[in-house]
């Protein structure tokens, strides 16, 4: 909201600098975002008149002008602009002048001709970006006058951000009231008008409020024989300086009063109101009305309208109707000022997607006592500015006058909550600066809250008023003397931290991606039917992810398209599912993505790509890190290559899966085939983490090692071979692992060579070859019998 310093001075004699005022407002809760002073940096620019404009003897595009600046000889000025002619009035920067850019005007010789000043464009004066030519001024400005004064550029405009609780501050009066409290200055106010006039209002209009809950007060004032026309310059300037377009004197009066004292108003063309009977009532279902902005609105029963006997003529507090609005032909005008239920105005304005300066203020609460003041001010202005004849009196329907809220503030409580030590008298002084009425009750104070302070409903609210005048920065600094109840990190929190450290150490970069993904991604990326946002920003951000896989694939995809081919990423984040009861369920998952070469910086073998077994080993590493036993099982996820994938089981429960992205999904030639994704449910993993393992004794006796090189048909799985080795090895077989696989030259087609390292140990004595050899023989025999596997 824009506020003019000159307008504030109608209410308060304040002589502080704009900067000091801005800081004071900011510190006490009304943040000044900007101080606009259009003329601040213009020094020595005056109004001048071009007397002659001749061609420059040495240039095609320059002109040589004589300019009258009201005193002394006309100045000779060389000028590069083209849009002026003799007789034009323009801003002239005389020698010694300083422009907002910092440029200082000195005597100059331009193409051999002396120039004693500069005529300026709007941009050179810092007024706009317009640099198409000189700023041609109105012809009637006094020559030689300082441009800042002549164009009224000395105004100070504050751009204030008013928080949602401070409806009372949405006017010049409101801001002045705040300044009066902060600087402890009196608030003055000239009478804004009275209810005098001719005739009697009750002979002209009848008002009924059908729903007093939603409209506690409705008042109207009639002004006859007005002449609709432009507003006077002073009013236009004030309105335009705060960003309101001047329409005509009647509309401007309502806007001006709203900006002045904060009360929104409306003006009806009295002659268009049927039966001169105003009824404030709920809208009828599907009732239609055309609003001022020429849009047809369909209303609902919980909306409040102002109606005459035939139709709705305004949506209460939101916008007036077009049919009864003031036009240039209007003769008699009925001003409305009222008080409406804040929730109804807000709901209506949201529902109709129609926000106005009026609805904005009604939502935040207005001053019900302002109804007659606003109406009398409107009548006074209509008489002065539009030649109207006010009818005497206000038609003011206010069946249940509001009683001021009483709030007790306890001195002890205030001091305890803020951490200061004020006396009751000091507290009272602060409250009086806010024009609160106070009454002592022992050490406590009972405050009557003014009708415009809707934000003050409880003791804490009053305490804030005292604290902010006292100054937050004067409150001492201490540390809380409480020890919290102890809440240790959860298993999941610990697991997440551990995994992140592990993954970063192993070369993975952490991603954070959006929780919402496009609704139309390939269905294989949605594990279940996703929850949808009702008001998504776009179709690309509509579905709550049910898995992290799309985000990971998308991240890899976009990096590959940037020619980054070797990628190792991880993300820990939530996925969202619908529970049986229709509510949402959230699970934390780990997602890991691999693309391209395992280690592109390894010049030993920079081409080696990720394969299923690197990923399987990576997953096993995660399990080992967490000290849990996992198993791998065949899987059929449509997102993965049909044979290059596995499920991860913890006990009998699947906790995740991994695999190579299905080649079908590689929709760009740049995408390498070797893209692998892993996804693991961390909630489930965290539940199973073993706390403290029991120590096993370190073996006392040596082991015996044997290597077995086997020639096996390719159809026989490693798992089947290992099963036999373990079974035949019995208790003495301590370890058995695959250490070499070979297939190709030297090996018969349909066969492969598998080499196993076996380690035997007896915990109670030193083993001998005589004990081991029979076991190995049994293994070999069994392998041959079961699978026709031979020793190599």
């Amino acid at each position: 909201m824009k506020v003019l310093l000159s307008w504030l001075k109608d209410y308060i004699d304040i002589n502080e600098t704009p900067e000091k005022i801005a800081e004071a407002l900011t510190m006490t809760g009304l943040e000044v975002e900007e101080i606009i002073q259009p003329g601040k940096n213009i020094k020595g620019v005056v109004v001048g008149k071009v007397l002659t404009k001749d061609a420059h003897p040495n240039s095609d595009h320059l002109s040589l002008c004589k300019v009258d600046i009201g005193k002394g000889e006309p100045l000779q000025i060389v000028c590069g602009a083209q849009n002026h002619k003799a007789g034009d009035v323009v801003p002239v920067a005389v020698l010694g002048a300083k422009l907002p850019s910092g440029f200082e005007i000195t005597e100059a010789k331009i193409r051999g001709i002396d120039s004693y000043g500069m005529m300026c464009s709007k941009r050179e004066l810092g007024l706009s970006e317009d640099h198409s030519g000189l700023y041609i001024l109105p012809p009637d400005l006094p020559l030689g006058e300082d441009i800042v004064k002549a164009l009224k550029l000395d105004e100070v405009i504050f751009e204030i951000s008013v928080t949602a609780n401070r409806g009372d501050a949405l006017s010049h009066l409101g801001i002045a009231r705040e300044l009066s409290a902060i600087f402890n200055l009196p608030l003055k106010r000239d009478p804004l008008g009275d209810d005098s006039g001719d005739g009697n209002i009750s002979d002209y209009i009848k008002i009924d409020i059908a729903n007093n809950e939603l409209c506690p007060r409705y008042g109207a004032r009639l002004v006859l024989n007005i002449k609709v026309g432009p507003s006077p310059d002073w009013m236009k300037e004030r309105l335009e300086n705060v960003g309101i377009r001047s329409i005509n004197n009647i509309v401007d009066i309502t806007n001006y009063i709203m900006l002045d004292i904060g009360h929104p108003m409306h003006a009806f063309d009295y002659d268009k109101l049927a039966e001169k009977h105003i009824i404030v009532r709920n809208a009828k279902a599907n009732e239609k009305m055309k609003t001022l902005d020429d849009a047809e609105r369909t209303l609902e029963e919980n909306m409040l309208v102002i109606a005459d006997e035939q139709k709705a003529v305004a949506i209460a507090g939101v916008m007036g109707g077009l049919d009864t609005s003031v036009t240039e032909n209007t003769k008699n005008v009925l001003f409305e000022a009222a008080s409406f239920d804040t929730v109804t105005v807000r709901r209506t304005s949201k529902k109709l997607a129609l926000q106005s300066d009026s609805s904005y203020r009604f939502e935040r609460g207005t001053n019900i006592d302002n109804v007659p003041i606003a109406l009398n001010a409107a009548a006074k202005f209509a008489k002065e500015l539009a030649g109207g004849q006010p009818v005497r009196g206000i038609c003011d329907v206010y069946p249940k006058p509001e009683i001021l809220r009483q709030i007790k503030v306890r001195t002890k409580r205030l001091n305890k909550l803020v951490g200061i030590n004020l006396t009751t008298a000091q507290i009272e002084t602060y409250l009086l600066r806010f024009k609160f009425e106070t009454r002592r009750e022992g050490e406590d104070i009972v405050v009557s809250v003014p009708p415009y302070r809707h934000d003050i409903t409880q003791e804490a609210d009053v305490i804030e008023e005292v604290a902010r005048l006292y100054g937050y920065n004067n409150i001492p600094e201490t540390l809380p003397a409480v020890a919290s109840s102890l809440q240790l990190p959860t298993a999941l929190q610990k697991l997440e931290k551990r995994l992140k450290d592990h993954l970063v150490s192993n070369g993975f970069s952490e991603l954070i991606t959006y929780s919402f993904i496009p609704a139309n991604v390939d269905s294989c990326f949605h594990e279940k039917k996703p929850l949808m946002l009702k008001n998504a920003l776009s179709e690309e951000m509509k579905a709550m992810r049910t898995s992290l896989k799309w985000n990971m694939f998308d991240a890899i995809r976009r990096n590959v398209l940037n020619d980054e081919f070797n990628l190792k990423f991880f993300e820990i984040g939530k996925v969202f599912h619908t529970s049986v009861a229709g509510m949402s369920e959230e699970h934390t998952r780990l997602s890991v993505g691999f693309c391209g070469a395992q280690n592109c910086h390894d010049w030993h073998d920079s081409k080696k790509e990720f394969d299923l077994f690197t990923i399987k080993g990576f997953v096993q590493g995660i399990a080992d890190l967490c000290k849990v036993k996992i198993r791998f099982a065949p899987s059929l996820n449509s997102i993965f290559h049909p044979t290059m994938q596995m499920d991860i089981l913890l006990g009998k429960n699947p906790i995740g899966s991994f695999g190579q992205i299905h080649p079908n999904l590689l929709d760009n030639k740049k995408l390498p085939k070797s893209i692998f994704l892993v996804e693991i449910d961390l909630d489930k993993l965290a539940e199973s983490i073993e706390t403290a393992p029991r120590m096993k004794a370190i073996p006392e006796f040596p082991s015996i090692r044997r290597d077995l090189a086997l020639l096996a048909p390719v159809t026989v799985a490693h798992r089947d071979i290992q099963k036999i080795l373990v079974a035949e090895g019995g208790n003495l077989l301590e370890d058995c692992h695959l250490f070499d696989v070979y297939q190709g030259k030297g090996i018969q087609e349909g066969f492969r060579s598998l080499a196993y390292s076996l380690s035997f140990r007896d915990p109670k004595k030193t083993l001998t070859d005589n004990e081991v050899q029979p076991l190995v023989d049994k293994m070999v025999a069994k392998l041959d019998k079961a699978h026709q596997i031979k020793l190599r």
Binding site: E34, N165, G419, L511, K534, H601
Partner: protein
């Protein structure tokens, strides 16, 4: 020792001096001490001598043998070391070639900043809690004193789900959920993703907030100030700060904390819009209406709460000029942290 013996020793010594390699020395060992070596031959000849002569000559030959032996051993050791050294030196690799161990990865800048913030508050005795990202309207708004149809709802543009739940717009619902479960005194922080319908270079529809809450008897605004000043000092170093009055529905009194601009040190620059200050967090004394919602005794307990945006701090800290970079997963960006 006879002249013959002395000559033999001298001859050995001359030859030894000429020996340059372990192989040369080995050849000498064979020549003198080998099965048919000169010293060995001398020893073999002892049998022909009388007992007396044998004794004296034997002693002399043994003396020579010992000398030769120790001389050979010494040279052998010395030359072996020299040869090893020469051999190792010959193995010199191209030290300018790069290392091949896989590169280290990176934690997301948001995570790094969040960890730092968490560490500071945990050191001050706060515990970390979490909560759902899809929230009931009650926890996100009503319980925090933001009734339906209140203009304060305009402060946060909310995403709604078809289930009529919302994506939480702030981390504050976790305060309510924690207070429902735990009796005071408590000091908690909550970290997490929050969502608002907003998308430009300084607004992301998803971002991270950290929220703090302290509840106990006699907790005052001065405690709030002391705590947050301690935090800011750890996080941003010692610098000027100020508390301004503000408005949040769930705190009363409410404040915003500014610190001296970290780019211009308060002189005024583009980042701080010439004010010399930058807003860093919102805070206030818990509104009694929030305590009523969780059935805390509003007379007995008071408390303060605060909240801050993690992305904003990360952007300030790392000089990131577009918030969307944080969520673009661009490896060229992520690898820098």
């Amino acid at each position: 020792m006879s002249e013959q013996h002395e000559n033999l020793l001298k001859q050995f010594q001359t030859e030894m001096e000429a020996a340059k390699t372990t192989a040369d020395v080995e050849a000498l060992r064979v020549k003198y001490l080998g099965k048919k070596g000169e010293v060995t031959e001398l020893l073999k000849g002892l049998g022909k001598l009388s007992i007396e002569e044998r004794k004296a000559t034997g002693a002399a030959i043994n003396q020579i043998k010992t000398k030769i032996q120790s001389s050979i051993e010494e040279s052998m050791k010395k030359l072996a070391l020299q040869e090893l050294d020469a051999k190792l030196k010959a193995e010199k690799p191209d030290h300018s070639m790069p290392g091949t161990y896989p590169n280290i990865g990176s934690l997301h800048p948001v995570t790094q900043v969040a960890n730092e913030v968490i560490n500071i508050f945990q050191a001050m005795g706060f515990f970390l809690t979490e909560g759902p990202e899809i929230e009931e309207e009650y926890y996100n708004f009503e319980a925090l004193n933001v009734p339906k149809h209140h203009p304060a709802r305009d402060m946060q543009d909310t995403f709604y789900l078809e289930s009529d739940q919302v994506l939480r717009t702030q981390t504050s619902p976790m305060q309510v959920r924690t207070m429902e479960k735990i009796e005071p005194p408590l000091k908690m922080i909550a970290l997490g993703k929050v969502y608002r319908c907003d998308y430009d270079i300084t607004h992301s529809p998803m971002f991270h907030q950290m929220e703090g809450l302290v509840v106990g008897e006699n907790i005052s605004m001065s405690d709030l100030k002391g705590t947050l000043i301690a935090f800011v000092k750890e996080m941003f170093g010692k610098r000027a700060y100020r508390f301004r009055t503000s408005y949040f529905p769930f705190t009363e009194p409410s404040a915003e904390m500014d610190i001296q601009c970290i780019f211009c040190e308060g002189k005024g620059c583009k980042v701080c819009k010439g004010t010399g200050w930058m807003e860093i967090l919102g805070c206030g004394m818990v509104n009694p209406k929030v305590f009523e919602a969780v059935k805390y005794d509003t007379e007995k307990y008071t408390g303060f709460a605060f909240g801050m945006g993690i992305e904003r701090i990360a952007m300030l800290r790392y000089g990131i000029n577009d918030i969307r970079l944080l969520f673009n997963s661009d490896t060229r960006f992520l690898k820098q942290f």
